[in-house]
Amino acid sequence: MGRQRIGYFEDLQDPEHICSRCHMCELICTFHHHQVGNPKRSRIRLISLDKGMDVPVTCLNCEDAPCMNICPTGALYRPESDGMVTVKEDLCIGCAMCVNACPVGAITLDPVDGVALKCDLCGGDPQCVDYCPANVLKLTDAERFARHRMRGFVKSLQASGEEG
């Protein structure tokens, strides 16, 4: 298995397998890590646009991780064990350079503690995956995620073939 991360596995053909905006991922993430309610401390964040567009965004665990590369104190590092970029909180100075560098905005500064916040996969048992009622969050890697996309693409071909 390649580098792990949380993937958003929606099925556009099935209304029940699309993010349903319930914010449970944020609530359970913050509860797991900080034992409080506060979505702004969540390491996965739901972005809602108009026309019903909702997508949960979290760390992609980039191969050549810009957050880690730019960190001036070495607070962001990659322990070999699970391959996920991790924050050493006592080294973090809250400069937010990682926040600027992340291509998807998946690192934030904790509004309470002031240190970098990012997904740590809950040590291998991600709570957002466990609690997502639409079952659209999965622990995955780039290969599996790509296969999911491919399958979606081929399904759409099949659908248009049936219509035509």
């Binding site: 209304p15 319930c22 914010h23 609530l27 034992q35 409080v36 309610g37 019903g52």
Partner: protein, 628 residues
């Protein structure tokens, strides 16, 4: 720092719009323990603050916005909000309840409730962020629809994460049934609270929070979370709600013949299929939507993809939308229903107010009690969807005949000398169903403290409770017999106190308070609710004490209404339900019997400890609940 170990934000915000002053006061521990939160807070504050005879639109009326106790914690489906004031529709206690994400955000911004007094000279909005609040000018927002108001506020603050509770033009123009919109997803519809807020010249309350809502005992809380999740696994109701949302009830209303269609002249709908829950799913559903942390997800996100109304994206419809905007005016084109729903949402109108009032006018028109000259030249007959859409606009701006429609059925009935056709209780239109088939349902609607309401109690317990359970809880096995009247007063009273807990905690009635198993109702609605409360707040609580908190609040509300002049006479269903039989469908021939209803009402007052003549809570009852 809050004195509470968790759950509560620990502060109440007091705003006086007349002089612009803002005060923050700590939440009192004893007050929290006696009233829990949400509707408990709002009802008690209104009892203390609003004197008898207060003008609902005057500066002395008070608006209370209160978050449920569990809002902001990860308790599933706990994000419900109560917005309350003396109602311009009933003259009694008014409150509206909405879901979505606003209530948790108020907690993250540091407050459990907001108490708003006075009247502003110019339009303002209230900005709240992390324990601070200020009033800001809102002249530029006045007159804007709900979506535009939200967009302008997001642009102005440069912040997409703000949560907005706003009124539309209907609230500004004092349409008596104007609602309050919380973000895109929630609407506090009933009792005309939007109009009260409009009378205060308050356009919106905007919150942004990044403070923690603490959990006193995380381990115990997690256990509650797991246990709650397990209760959903085998629940048929959950599956149904996710698939169809509340519109699943359309099938029930049709098969039982209890729609209340055509202003309660018809019980079933001839061309039913197009407005069925199944058809709304098939044609318009984009996906289910869940309120904060909801594992059930009964809300709908719908889109109209083709036809003259293509391009409508909306949260909804609910069953109530279909009841009000389809069944009542007898319109069966689902795209029209969604268009009407969209307009009501944008103008900030309660759909039940609109549907009921237009339907009543349609009946008056067909009976010759209204003429074309009076109705702006509109052919106001049942099924005329153009007239419905036309008048939604006129109601919101109080133009032409819309000015009278904007008053609701009660006042329209008085003005046109047509009281009989105004189907309301205490001034609030009858929603949900026609209760003529089931007298306990009629009782529940009629005694509801905010006026006709199907969510103030749960009269369906007799459909599934087992005789031994009935015996244990209500003292007689007869409660399990749907035909029997014995013990039903007690059953209705119990169910009212019990669902009041949901409105205090901020728990959703569908996710927590619906099941076809009585032990499950107890398990979720009392046992797990108590667990959530205790583990989140760290305050001691038992099932019995929690139930008593529900009962206390119900008595406070009754006391409020009695003081405002609403006595026993206010606890009766409309005359039509006694006079006319259901005209069609499987329940054809059913009507209420006055003698039987009187007996049931006596039984209910007795179970409650209320005076049978006046409906007033007795001194002994009040004392037993610690109320003087």
């Amino acid at each position: 720092m809050s004195i509470f170990a968790g759950g509560y934000a620990g502060q109440i915000l007091f705003v006086n719009l007349t002089d612009g002053s803002i005060q923050v006061k700590p939440l009192d521990r004893a007050f929290a323990l006696n009233y829990i939160g949400g509707r408990g807070f709002s009802s008690r504050i209104l009892l203390d603050e609003v004197k008898p005879g207060t003008d609902p639109y005057g500066p002395d009326n008070v608006v209370v916005i209160a978050a449920g106790t569990l809002s902001g914690t990860p308790t599933p489906s706990s994000g419900r909000l109560v917005v309350a004031a003396k109602s311009p529709m009933t003259g009694g206690l008014g409150d509206a309840n909405s879901g979505g994400y606003w209530s948790p955000e108020l907690k993250y911004a540091g407050f459990d409730a907001i108490v708003i007094r006075g009247t502003s000279k110019d339009p303002v909005y209230l900005w709240i962020e992390d324990g601070r609040a200020e009033l800001r000018p809102a002249q530029h927002l006045w007159g804007q629809n709900i979506t535009e108001t939200r967009q302008l506020l997001k642009e102005e603050t440069g912040d997409d994460d703000i949560h907005i509770c706003a009124i539309g033009p209907a609230g500004e123009n004092l349409v008596r049934y104007a609602c309050v919109a919380t973000d895109e997803e929630g609407v506090g519809g009933r009792c005309g609270i939007g109009a009260v807020i409009g009378s205060k010249k308050l356009k919106a309350v905007v919150v942004r929070g990044s403070l923690d809502v603490r959990i006193a005992d995380p381990e115990r809380f997690k256990k509650m979370l797991e246990a709650y999740r397990e209760t959903l696994a085998g629940e048929v109701w959950t599956e149904t709600l996710r698939r169809l949302g509340t519109p699943n009830l359309t099938a029930h209303r049709q098969s039982h013949g209890i729609w209340g269609a055509k202003n309660f002249q018809r019980a079933t709908i001839e061309d039913y299929e197009p407005i069925s829950g199944e058809n709304f799913r098939k044609k318009f559903l984009m996906k289910p939507i869940g309120c904060m942390g909801c594992l059930v997800r009964c809300k709908r996100y719908s889109a109209v993809k083709d036809g003259p109304f293509a391009g409508i994206y909306t949260v909804g419809p609910e069953y109530e939308t279909i009841n009000a905007l389809a069944a009542k005016p007898y319109i069966t084109d689902p795209a029209i229903v969604l268009r009407a729903h969209y307009l009501c949402d944008e103008y900030g109108l309660d759909e039940q107010g609109v549907g009921s009032t237009v339907a009543m006018a349609m009946e008056l028109y067909e009976r010759g009690l209204l003429t074309k000259e009076q109705t702006d030249g509109q052919e106001l007959v049942f099924g005329n969807s153009e007239a419905l859409l036309y008048f939604i606009d006129k109601i919101a701006y109080r133009k032409g005949f819309g000015d009278l429609l904007a008053e609701g059925t009660k006042i329209m009935g008085e003005r046109l000398n047509a009281d009989y056709y105004a189907i309301h209780i205490k001034g609030l239109e009858v929603d949900a169903t026609d209760p003529r088939k089931q007298v306990t349902r009629a009782l529940t609607y009629a005694v509801a403290t905010r006026g006709a309401c199907h969510l103030r109690g749960n009269p369906y317990i007799d459909e599934f409770i087992k005789p031994e359970e009935a015996e244990a809880y209500f003292g007689t096995a007869a409660v399990s017999d749907i035909e029997a009247l014995e013990g039903k007063g007690k059953m209705v009273a119990w169910s009212e106190d019990w669902v009041t807990i949901s409105d205090q905690m901020g728990l959703c009635k569908f996710a927590w308070y619906r099941s076809r198993s009585f032990p499950m109702l107890i398990k979720r609605g009392l046992e797990l609710a108590k667990e959530a409360f205790t583990s989140a707040t760290g305050l001691p609580m038992t099932n019995e004490k929690l139930y008593e908190c529900g009962e206390r609040v119900y008595n406070v509300e009754k006391l409020f209404n009695v003081r405002q002049g609403i006595g026993r006479e206010g606890d009766y269903p409309p005359a039509r339900f006694f006079e006319e039989e259901l005209a069609d469908g499987p329940a054809k021939g059913c009507k209420l019997d006055r003698e039987e209803y009187d007996r049931l009402l006596d039984d209910y007052y007795e179970a409650r400890g209320w005076d049978k003549k006046t409906g007033e809570p007795t001194k002994e009852k009040l004392r037993s609940l610690g109320l003087k």
